[in-house]
């Protein structure tokens, strides 16, 4: 980074009024903002952390895009999996460098960015969607983030099954996620993890029943609420508005043998 940014590099431009812009530096490129125009040429040669000025003299900080920036700035045709949910998916499934992961219901590819980042530099994400135009957008978003070598895209419906075997993790983001469970079971190695996200209680209920029927274990469903704080000296408080719901997250693990037991019922244990 010491030699400064060059054409092709990705930059998040941050204005002190909290607006941000994600760009890739191009020859002759210009960015129109709410506070004047920024010439890409003025950013070239800067280091992350330095300031560039718009045509109206307004300062913007040149920043390196984070995973969250990438996810929130994807071109969208669909609802995305949000960073708060993606973070929990990463920790609970334990996706890590070198793993092989299937994602089915790729949508705009926001979660794909999270998974690809986690399996880098040697793992692989197999990204399925039955809708070619979603996959096309997802592919663009993944390419723009420089993660294309880590992802293989496939047009396919979950019900038709996956090509891979012995994968470590499967993520399902489908309207009928239970339709993907048999294929997920076959693709997962023993002890492999499945994660699923769905907006409604009804989907969760059917999904959990299917997971139990297919012999998955350690099934749990959670939701995450994220609240922002407005921090000001002497007058700090939560924000007045918040997002009240994105989706319920269901997690489970692949067992190789049936476990004779009554319907697995979650005890109400409090965990953070």
């Amino acid at each position: 980074m010491s030699d400064g940014l060059k054409l092709g590099d990705a930059v998040l431009l941050y204005s002190p009024d909290r607006k941000t812009y994600l760009i890739s530096l191009t020859e002759g490129g210009k960015l129109g903002t709410h506070a004047g125009e920024i010439r890409h040429a003025d950013v070239v040669g800067k280091r992350y952390g330095e300031i560039v000025r718009s045509s109206t003299g307004r300062p913007f900080v040149v920043l390196e895009p984070t995973l969250e920036d990438r996810m929130m700035k994807v071109r969208r045709l669909t609802q995305i999996i949000y960073p708060k949910d993606a973070g929990l998916i990463l920790v609970k499934t334990g996706v890590r460098s070198g793993m092989h992961v299937i994602e089915c219901g790729v949508g705009s590819g926001a979660a794909t960015l999270a998974l690809a980042t986690a399996v880098a530099p040697t793992g692989k994400v197999y990204a399925y969607d039955r809708e070619p135009r979603f996959l096309e957008i997802a592919r663009e978003n993944v390419e723009r983030a420089g993660l294309a070598h880590l992802v293989e895209f496939k047009v396919r419906d979950a019900a038709e099954g996956f090509d891979e075997e012995d994968v470590d993790v499967v993520l399902l983001d489908l309207p009928s996620p239970w339709e993907g469970v048999p294929a997920a079971r076959r693709a997962l190695r023993g002890g492999g993890r499945l994660a699923s996200i769905s907006p409604t209680f009804n989907q969760v209920e059917r999904m959990v029943a299917t997971l139990q029927a297919e012999g998955f274990v350690m099934i749990e469903t959670v939701e995450i609420l994220l609240r922002h704080l407005l921090v000001r000296p002497g007058k700090t408080r939560p924000f007045e508005r918040m997002v009240g719901h994105t989706g319920f997250l269901t997690f489970a693990r692949r067992a190789l043998q049936p476990i004779e037991s009554p319907l697995e019922e979650a005890p109400e244990i409090e965990t953070p």
Copy 2:
């Protein structure tokens, strides 16, 4: 994994009543559980996903420990950073393979596991704590997770500064996190991210003021609430108890130049 588990491997044993045990397989090892004794020798040779039986005939599923399992099962002398918070830290700071990260206030090392997993296989976590006996526990926990080669432990108070320069991310988990901000600023490269976790709003208020004074930008503070669902056919509902608070998370980025502007005030934008 096809050749089966061997001595030294880590295993999460899962009982259908939701109790779990994390062990490393040892010669002649025995695990006492609530449902009888399990001989390590009976686990050796199994594959993840298979079942082992206790002395009383009760089945346990042999599972691969995930990051969450590791974090929740650390030997603890301190409060830990919980998976829900660690997940958001990973996504918001964008820690990824190959990065260099400082963690100060390591405590029992739960977050160290998350950071080390994220920077693998080639990055590094510099783990500081002024309390030698915490570092000792953290080191044990990191070793048990097989991540020791990714972490360098140092007994040091945040106020004394860090040895590293141009690191990508700094995580502070300190009673007085503002005392670590100058050292964090010096250690971070331009555009590098800082994350801090604190239980009280007073800490957050002082921390944010210090971050502003030290020229950090894109400062935001959030909290995460995680709620479990009890999913049963025809009678699904949220759990009756939940964890109401772990900590507030503050995020910021390192600017290299001062940005002339009034005190940066967060607009109340809703984001998930």
Copy 3:
């Protein structure tokens, strides 16, 4: 109150370590506490707000029981409707002095106390339960609170219908609240309000469908989360534990004529 408390009066004894005891003063009565014994005779003659001492010299403040104290201290055979939920029921149904209210599924009578307090001094609560031993407990709890003249108890199943007509409000706390909807519709005057509480989303879904089919309007379902703050100088934060769920509350109003319209679907309007 100026002449001091006398036999038969109700008192909440409050110890500085936050323990509370609700008693009615009796001749020769004694209360065993965690901090010694308190003789009722020592409380007689005191005014609310004064201090009485236990046998071990520990101070207790003599307080007047509030509605919340009464509700939380009912003798219980069942889950109760909690104060946070009862408060919203009062405001949303608009129960007030002089109104006639049906409660069906009285349980231990906690909500009965709230309703009776709200309709006093001239209204009436008709309290139905099909379980005689619940009604017996509820009656005791209502009597102890001095509200017996405002409540009429009836052993009856919701499906059998109610005796009253033109009531202002109906509250249903039933395992199958939809079974009480036809009877509620017949008992309510035009524009009268129905409230229902249920723990599961499945109950809510069926209840709302039934309310729509029976011609109720302005149907809405909410849940309330209450979080405590630990307020201490310089170290204030939310409590670490909280109650994550009690029940979902559904509200609706009685229309007298059918309203030709597609299935009424709630827009996602944010209201506090």
Copy 4:
């Protein structure tokens, strides 16, 4: 109500698309809505629960305004106390028929409506605000709700003290609520309850310290989150947006004698 609505009566008009209008019926009155005009004359003679049609033939249900309707429809110059918070205030302070209550910081009078409804028919609300134009709006709102006989308005700053003694409850909604505590203490009878609402943590912290210093007991601070459910057959979920914060509610009770004890510290007891 059996003879039908007449001039002067209050009506909530409800459209199936969830829009509502609160009016008082006047001679020749007309209401412009999003779905055509409604002539007040067409509502006169109807009973609550019946349907009236707009000029474009769209149906509106004629409903009786509830306390919540009144509160949400006040003419506003200020932030209001919302129904969810008012409900908890009623239950926790135990305001009931016949009580005398002081409200200081009346604003637009939304909470005044809740308090006046609760003390009816024989109690009294003493409503203070130092801003004459707020009191004027509040008075209008109270009159429109038919509650004027229960409320006495006074232009006064909290620091100057209240005229009343031996009141049962004091509600403070002030930017510096601690300035009202000495006056509240003097006005409250022994065992009387104080409630206060404030948006920031800082206000809460100072308020609680002042309450402790002034000898109040049983101090607690809570916040309420209300989440709406979108209930639809087979696809029920929480709303995507919610109100994340209105205010923190602090409750306390007036002791008449000092209680020798260390600073009263709330244990972290979970209560719903």
